[in-house]
Symmetry: C2
Subunit: 123 residues, 2 copies
């Protein structure tokens, strides 16, 4: 269940990953987070995986530091959810939160991304 609030339990380790509360998520911030090609790719991969994904499971043409940066932007803007599992950090879309706040938005963006990829790929 990747849509629980991570506050419940504080998990195991000491490394904390601050997530915004659902009511603190702002549309403009979500759109900004989604407006970067790298982050859009991350979100699409996460949505396609339907579950959690390791940070390293998504291949991006950028350095590790930049990758970390993008994941953090997505998390701090309320788009994804992150937690540690051993040395790995797992990622998941905050679908239920986003769907409750902005019904149809994420689906629209994901479908738009798929359509555009198909359109440009089959050019």
């Amino acid at each position: 269940m990747p849509t629980e609030t991570p506050a419940a339990g504080a998990a195991s380790g000491a490394r904390s990953l601050p997530h915004p509360d659902r009511e603190d998520i702002r549309l403009a911030q979500v759109l900004h987070a989604l407006a970067d090609p790298m982050r859009l790719r991350i979100v699409c991969a996460l949505a396609a995986a339907e579950g959690e994904l390791n940070c390293a499971d998504i291949e991006l043409p950028v350095s590790k530091s930049t990758c970390t940066h993008h994941f953090r932007v997505l998390r701090e803007h309320g788009v994804i959810q992150q937690f540690y599992r051993g040395t790995a950090k797992m990622n998941g879309l905050r679908r239920t939160d986003l769907d409750e706040l902005f019904p149809g938005l994420i689906d629209g963006v994901l479908q738009a991304a798929r359509l555009q990829e198909r359109r440009l790929g089959a050019l």
Copy 2:
């Protein structure tokens, strides 16, 4: 019909307003254009008006130059359509183009904006 291609006719004056072709519109650019609070407000006003709106009909807490800048960003990223009518410049959403490229996206964003406004206003 505010959704025609403005290339047909070249209108009256000499002032030209370059619009991107529909197939040149990119999702990331649209999201980026929508990610600014001012521009989001403009788009919402335009959608609510259902027709064309004068630039000055939308009150924004920024200077005139900044306003012009935002309108241009929206136009150059394919979100709105602009043309001159006398000294005024009229604006309209490119709904049909956007709906064809990214079905459901604009509706999702607009509804999300309305929901958030209601949520935050009734706080």
